[in-house]
Subunit: 120 residues, 2 copies
DNA sequence: CAGAATCCAAGAAGATACTG
DNA sequence: CAGTATCTTCTTGGATTCTG
């Protein structure tokens, strides 16, 4: 058997792009409809302009976001999800929802772990 | 840090731990039942021993994995999911499934993007 | 077997400044 | 408004070696 496994990028790489900290925030924020750069900057809390740009490019390149430039002054650029990103979005919200439900428990688990092991 | 705001860690941080490239692989591999270190090393393709250890500690600290040491010779250590990780697992498999369905499309999207923009 | 310790390279990310 | 460019810092991750 010709194990020509990687005709396409490995799953782990896809997941790495799609499930990154910033990617999830961006995709979730863009899911409500077309969203502008500055709106995204506010929506994704903690992201820097640079990181936003880089992640937008990555997601656009992967075919998850569509970038629409309106040739006006001042410029207006909108980002929206492609169909495959929209499908992804439901899984992402499940994840976000889970994180929200359990972040208290996780914080407590960390405290217990650190307390037991020995924080110096 | 004498932080007053963070009663619990922000969602983005939780997601960052849980949805990392390695974390997903580890959690999915451990979902079948208790799994040993070396088995994980084989199951999570591409991971190094070091990264595996670091990620196992992180997940254990977050209360997602339970580490069981059997005091035998040679040593035997098993990892299994906690209930909250088990709940997470269903969302993760959804994600993995999505990634598998679309990785071909993503690879093509990249090629198109690179081809159009100008790969120098 | 299941790690821990150390060193080092590469990439991610922040700060800041500039532009069509 | 929506970026780009540059510089520096911090973190991630690989390779290797050692141990109970």
């Amino acid at each position: 058997m010709s194990t020509q496994v990687s005709e396409a990028c490995p799953i782990s790489e896809v997941l790495d792009h799609v499930a990154g900290k910033w990617s999830i925030g961006i995709l979730v924020a863009a899911a409500h409809g077309p969203i502008r750069f500055t709106e995204l900057e506010r929506a994704v809390s903690g992201i820097s302009r640079r990181m936003l740009t880089l992640n937008l490019r990555k997601l656009e390149r992967d075919g998850l976001l569509v970038r629409t430039v309106h040739p006006t002054v001042p410029p207006k650029v909108e980002y929206s999800l492609t169909p495959m990103a929209r499908e992804l979005h439901s899984y992402l919200t499940g994840l976000v929802d889970w994180a929200d439900r359990y972040r208290g428990a996780i914080t407590r688990a960390r405290a217990a772990y650190d307390g037991a092991a020995g924080p110096v």
